[in-house]
Each structure stands twice: as C-alpha cells, then as structure tokens.
Point group: C2
Chain length 218, copies 2
Amino acid sequence: MARLPEYLRALTSLAEAGISVCSSEELAAAVNVNSAKLRKDLSYLGSYGTRGVGYDVDYLRYQIAREIGLTQDWPVAIVGIGNLGHALANYSGFGSRGFRVAALLDAAPERCEESVAGIPVRSFDDLDAVLAETPIAIGVIATPAGAAQGVADRLVAAGITSILNFAPTTLAVPAGVSVRKVDLSVELQILAYHEQRRAGAEELRGAAIAAAGEEQSA
Amino acid sequence: MARLPEYLRALTSLAEAGISVCSSEELAAAVNVNSAKLRKDLSYLGSYGTRGVGYDVDYLRYQIAREIGLTQDWPVAIVGIGNLGHALANYSGFGSRGFRVAALLDAAPERCEESVAGIPVRSFDDLDAVLAETPIAIGVIATPAGAAQGVADRLVAAGITSILNFAPTTLAVPAGVSVRKVDLSVELQILAYHEQRRAGAEELRGAAIAAAGEEQSA
DNA sequence: CGCGTTTTGTTCTCACGTTCACAAACTCCT
DNA sequence: AGGAGTTTGTGAACGTGAGAACAAAACGCG
C-alpha cells in the first residue's frame, strides 16, 4: 500500500517525541486518514497491536520498515544533473531511509561540475560500466522531457526495474518495470482547477444572492 | 479529474507533431489509460468530439485548458529557497502553462543570494507586504519538514487557499484549502516495496523449483 | 440517397476500497 | 478475582471508479 510510508513517517515523529505506544486513533489523526482504514492496513501485515492498549511505536516502525524493504540498502542513480538533479543529489532526506545516491549520470558530464555532493558525475554512455562497478536498484530520471524516454529505455535495457520519473512525460516501459512519476506541473494544474472551481462557486453564490435581491425588490 | 493535465500534455505533443485530429484510442495509448475511461473523462466536460472522426486536437486542448483554468494567470510564491527552492525557481516548465513565479520567500533571505532567477528573495516575515504588492494564488512550500506546518498556517492566515507541499510532512489545514503533496521519499519507498516483492517472488519461484526437483528426486 | 464503417457518448455491471459497527481481547481498578 | 473501560481486528454495507458492451451519429462511397 502507498500509505505505509506515511504511517512510517508519522511513527518516526512520535518516536522522536518520546512516545512509545499509540492508538490507531492517534496515528490516524496524524496522517489524516480514517482509523478503521489504518487498522485494516496494519492488519494486512500482521497483528502487531494489542487490544485495549494500542501499537508499540518502535516495534510497528520496524515491522513497516521491513515490509517496505527499508531494512536493506537501496542504491540510487540520478540521471540528468541539471537544476533538479543537483537539488536531488544534495537532498539530505535521501539517505535517511536506506536510500543512497550511488551514482550521478549526465549526457554531458563536462557541462556540470566534476562532482556534486561529493559524488562524481559520469557520462550516461558509461551506464553499463557504472552498473558493473556498483549495483543500482532505482533509477531517477531528472532530464528534460525529450530525453526521458530514451534514458528509460536504456535503464531498462541495463536491467533496472524501478524508475522514478521527474520529467513531464508518460514513460512507456515493459511489464515488470515499476515507474513512479513526480510531476510539478500536473500538481499545480490540479490546484488551479480546484482554485478556479472555488472562485466559480463564489461567483455563483454572488449571482444567486444578487438574483434573490432582485426577486425581493421585484 | 487528475488526469486532465496528462491528456493536455499528450495533446500538446500531438499538436507539435502536426496532428490535428486524433481518436480516443490513440490519445488513450499515449497516456496509458483505457480508451473508455478517457472518453468518459472528456464527456464530463462536454461533447467535444465528432463520432466517426475523433477529437480536434487544438479545440480539445483549449477546452481542457479552460476547464483546468489555464486560460488565466496563476501567480505562485515559493517559500524556502534552499536547494529545492532554487531548482523550482529556475524550473522552466513552470511558466509554460500560465504559472508564474511571482515571489520568493525565505525565513533568512540574507542566507541565500539576493535574487534567484531574476526574482528577489524576500523575508517570509514580510508575507503580508508581499501579498499586498502582488496577488498570489498558490503557495509552494520547499522548507525543511519542521518549518512546513508553521509556513502553511501563515499562508492560510494570509488568505492563500492552494498549497503545494514538498516538505515530508502531512499538513493540517482548515477545510476549503487544497493541499497537494510531492514527496520524494514516499515515492522511493513505494518503488522499494515493489522491488522487494519482485525479489521475494523470484526467491519463492526458485524455492518452488527446488522443491519440485526434490519431489522428483524423491 | 442509402448503406457500411468508424468512432463517440453512455449505460450497465463488477470489483475495489472505504467506512461503519461490533465482537474479542487486554488493562486497570476495586 | 471480577467487572468496567479501551482498543484492536474484522465482517458487512456502502459508495465510487473502472472496464466492457452497445446505441447514436457522422463520414465516405457507390
């Protein structure tokens, strides 16, 4: 389930606050979900709570981390070291959960600095050589939209089965390869849509009030 | 619907390729969705296709853009000009669709350069003053997790009703405020989960084959 | 002008996810 | 030890969204 990471983060917050036991109600409130849904999600990975008491924060944290696979190391390669690639390479939250930036690749490595965040930038053409040196589990595409599909194809051909795509394109990949997409522009458009609907509703309300006023005056 | 932006992008691609008419089947293939679902989505905003022919690319593009609200200007403020804030301010895809970075805010503006991408960085304490100078429709939070809720509260208090949150926290906001979340770490964890399941399935297959072999030999 | 072909718009069915509600189980207090 | 109060885990209803199938409509051709 896609909610497990959220639960995990909330549990980590609780643990840092010194709380060692919490109820499904409390945890659900922290993640803004229904408590029944949360309990069902947790029950899916086993009965790790005690009735009448709640969940042991640290124990549940470990169980969720194990379910997600965070007990192992996930080496990540970032392709495309532009503005976004830089920011991603420097992103501290990366390493905190078993994810490790193991390689930086760019079509034109001479264009950017030789190393970013202490990691050398290699040429994307050397992909196979890099993979031979260090295993890579997840490829992050931070290239312009035009290059994304080509990069994805080559990553898949090199044996990578998990891709996180920041380029504003829908990638076509064979079955058995997971792709997650992060798209700034889509999120903004969704916000704009709701914002516009709110504005439209307000106008309608205003018009209705005006019409009511006219009716009264008529 | 959250798929409209995807359709819009695919249509733009088609238009750039010089295609002026397309069927629901073609468009659906470009976005990796079922054609019936696509037709249903489009019919929700009116009957803009012609049976036996398909959809006029430019016309449909305009209709979707109008539905989303992209025919107007959406001024955006970015709060938190760290690594990510920099990258966002410089992100070119921002302006392409009616979104315009109208203000950059940071708790400590003296820490970063005076201006990023040609836009001056103001102090977040001057939020009200900035809003008085220039209208802001959408607030983008690119601060560390700890500061995010406080920033959100102040944005909401200042009258902003749409927030795009890049900080790894779930924000609590009053009803009537839209929040979209972009969370790198969650996406990676979802990928890791699937990757682990794939690895686990492979092991199980291997074990089953081994067991079958043992059975045969027994 | 009418028929066949193509493609939309829509209806119906189904499956999934969410929510409610309750029984089982555990703790605390007397 | 027993009962009251909590809280989990889960079975059943509910609503929503997805997919298949079909009717209506537009175009082209004879």
